[in-house]
């Protein structure tokens, strides 16, 4: 399933090339060493938001590694994603402390309320719902991150409110542009 993101549609070819330049920069920085594959993938994901076939092929060509090798590494690590992400990313922590404090229920009901399965993006591409195996903010349990923001001591209601607020912001900005 590939939902084109609003941003990538707008940006066009030019932005695409700029992003490859960022990957090139990281390749040069590590002197095209094959051992630096993970760092290169990190910066590629930072630039593109995800790693698709084109990017993986590019990296494998540049580092002279078999595509299977690059694909193998990219799919081994949870951090790398091969699908485009939503405009917002909500990561619900399912570490032990959060679990004990009811994060399991929050994620189950979020999935229901947002009509999306954990690990995937809503149909309109506005939100990706993810889970994490502990974000190390156990004193804030149950906690989650919404984009870069850390939200602690959450309930289902507060989570939905925060997500809706984010979405509303986007909608408002889009309207202004029109």
């Amino acid at each position: 399933m590939t939902v084109p993101m609003a941003s990538s549609v707008k940006e066009g070819e030019n932005g695409h090339e700029l992003k490859f330049q960022l990957v090139d920069k990281s390749l040069k920085k590590c002197q095209f060493q094959q051992d630096a594959l993970i760092e290169v993938l990190h910066s590629a994901q930072e630039a593109f938001g995800h790693l698709d076939e084109e990017i993986l092929d590019y990296v494998s060509l540049q580092l002279k590694l078999p595509p299977s090798w690059v694909y193998g590494v990219a799919t081994f690590y949870n951090f790398f994603t091969l699908d485009p992400q939503g405009e917002h990313v909500c990561v619900v922590c399912l570490g032990t402390a959060c679990y004990v404090k009811g994060a399991g229920e929050i994620i189950a009901r979020l999935e229901e309320a947002l009509e999306v399965e954990a690990g995937s993006t809503t149909a309109d591409g506005s939100l990706t719902l993810m889970t994490a195996r502990c974000l190390g903010n156990c004193s804030l349990a149950p906690m989650l991150t919404l984009d870069a923001e850390v939200l602690g001591k959450q309930t289902l209601e507060s989570t939905i409110a925060a997500i809706e607020a984010k979405r509303a912001l986007v909608a408002a900005a889009a309207e202004e542009e029109l």
Binding site: A36, V73, L94, G136, S139, L140, G152
Partner: protein
């Protein structure tokens, strides 16, 4: 920089700090920021600008102070007396500043200095936390940062350093508890043209954030420990491997490495000696198994982070086949204090076999959750009820979980057990990296076991069959127990599988994955039986709405509904 310059810098900085009329320490770690520390900082800075106070005082944005559930925390020292204020609002913070500056600090909101949370702790590793700005190397240096490295480089031989660490009794804080000095000596004696030092900051255990806090609050301490280790074993290159989930730790370490290199405390000719040591950061990409030492090294080399059989141990053949010393971040953070104050001083803390202190992330159902450092051998009861302040809302203590997915749950009757490597192992749990999660009567033990098994199943790297297949099967059995479709025989199968996976897995992940199951079966067997025989979850967590397959004929009516639905 040489030794004299280092001492001078330390003295200069100390003098500058003493010349200030007031220093405010604002906890600026993630929990406090999410509780509102940012607004407090802005308010203080505005006030300072408005009243032109910048010459008289400074606000230090520090790393974690510990009692995370009480943030934002603000600490001041007036006339040698220290006060920590909890749950500070921007307005209160301004009051605290103005009164502190006038020399009559306010009392409202101040935590009593003698509360057990502070009084029962012994801070060695976390000694600088809450007193320095992790982004300012001079703050570190003013608190003896890099002094141990300077001493070691000029006064001690590598062998002496290894022996000092051995004498201190320091054991690995990453979970296994292997004597650090022995490991250092092994690497030192391995003949090779190149060697490496690796700091394990992968901290994948759910419910643990000690290493994160150390790296975020006092990064120079870790770097110094690594450099000392590099000198002791004869390595010139170090790697510090940080979890991808910890971007702030990675950013602070990057800055710390750059600052230290600029000051000549890392890089070539460290402190004007003939010792060269570079440290590079490697950021993980979200795989629990990469905390395992051999998997971590394959990950540093840019490959799929799968473990390889040991021996050969990393001390003989690690990164790119060269001898590699790998220790946990907290282990490295202990090194500088040991060499600065002596092995005997360090060995004065703790028990006979477990020396020093241990940092725990105390969380779950406990009043004072946060980061604590206690001497080894303290009882669990003291940690949970004294330091932690007991359970909130009149909750009943049911279990303390240590060691994450490799550990187990310790029931109430063992609350007086001293916390050290051996005692916890005897109870079927492990010290682990230091997560300590308190559970009350609303936690269901089979469900907790299932939670950890699901974790291991997801995180199994798939290289060896026992772990890849065994965790799935064990998970299915636990799922059956918690959804009501298990039979008594399943319990036996589960136990048998546990033994099998334990004994035949390639790495620690599989070998320890059955621990939470075996341990809860040992102490909470009645709860498992209640699920299976009485179809009842005493904690009220599990739905138990399924029926055992073999009993299905008896439930023909339900079966019909089932068919209809599908």
């Amino acid at each position: 920089m040489n030794l004299t310059a280092l001492t001078e810098l330390a003295e200069q900085e100390l003098q500058r700090q003493q010349d200030l009329k007031l220093r405010l320490f604002l906890c600026y770690s993630t929990p406090c920021i999410s509780a509102g520390a940012e607004a407090v900082k802005v308010a203080l800075e505005e006030l300072i600008k408005e009243q032109d106070l910048a010459a008289q005082l400074e606000v230090v944005a520090t790393g974690c102070m510990g009692p995370c559930s009480r943030g934002p925390l603000l600490r001041i020292v007036v006339a040698g007396e220290e006060r920590t204020y909890e749950k500070v609002t921007p307005e209160q913070a301004c009051e605290i500043l103005l009164h502190g500056l006038a020399g009559n600090p306010i009392e409202t909101g101040a935590l009593p200095a003698d509360i057990p949370f502070f009084a029962r702790q012994t801070k060695i590793v976390l000694g600088n936390n809450g007193w320095i700005d992790p982004g300012k190397i001079e703050h570190s240096i003013a608190r003896d940062g890099y002094a141990a490295l300077a001493y070691v480089l000029h006064e001690m031989s590598p062998e002496e350093v290894c022996n000092e660490i051995k004498k201190s009794g320091l054991r690995g804080r990453g979970g296994g508890g292997y004597p650090a000095g022995v490991k250092w000596n092994l690497v030192r004696k391995s003949p090779a043209e190149r060697k490496y030092v690796v700091a394990n900051g992968d901290e994948g255990d759910p419910g643990a954030y000690m290493d994160r806090t150390i790296m975020e609050s006092d990064p120079h301490r870790v770097l110094e420990g690594m450099a000392i280790a590099g000198y002791a074993v004869g390595a010139e290159q170090g790697y510090i491997y940080v979890r991808g989930e910890y971007p702030l730790a990675a950013a602070r370490l990057t800055k710390a490495i750059r600052d230290a290199e600029r000051c000549g405390l890392l890089g070539s000719r460290v402190l004007d000696s003939s010792f060269n040591f570079r440290i590079d950061l490697r950021v993980g990409a979200g795989a629990f198994v990469c905390g395992e030492e051999t998997a971590l090294m394959t990950s540093i080399m840019g490959r799929r982070g799968q473990p390889v059989p040991r021996p050969p141990y990393p001390a003989q053949s690690g990164l790119w086949g060269y001898p590699t010393l790998i220790n946990n971040v907290e282990s490295f953070a202990n090194v500088a204090p040991i060499l600065h104050r002596g092995a005997d001083w360090f060995a004065g803390f703790g028990t006979e076999k477990s020396k020093g202190t241990k940092v725990f992330a105390l969380c779950g159902e406990v009043v004072n959750s946060g980061l604590i450092e206690v001497p080894m051998g303290i009882s669990l009861r003291d940690i949970v009820f004294e330091i932690g302040g007991g359970l909130p809302d009149g909750g009943q203590f049911k279990a303390a979980q240590t060691g994450g997915p490799s550990g187990g749950c310790i029931p109430a009757e063992y609350l007086d057990t001293p916390v050290d490597y051996e005692s916890l192992k005897e109870l079927g749990s492990i010290m682990g990296s230091g997560g300590l999660i308190v559970m009350n009567e609303t936690s269901c033990m089979p469900d907790v076991a299932k939670f950890f098994m699901e974790f291991c199943m997801d995180e199994s790297c798939g290289k060896c069959v026992p772990c890849r297949v065994g965790t799935v099967e064990m998970y299915e059995l636990l799922k059956r127990i918690t959804d009501g479709s298990a039979m008594l025989g399943d319990l036996e199968t589960l136990e048998e599988l546990c033994g099998l996976v334990q004994e035949t897995s390639l790495c620690g992940l599989g070998m320890t994955a059955p621990n939470p199951v075996l341990n809860t079966l040992k102490y909470y067997r009645a709860e498992y039986l209640a699920h299976i025989e009485e179809n009842c979850c005493p904690a009220g967590v599990c739905q138990l709405d399924q029926v055992p397959l073999l009993k299905l004929p008896e439930h023909a009516a339900e079966l019909a509904i089932f068919k209809e639905e599908n």
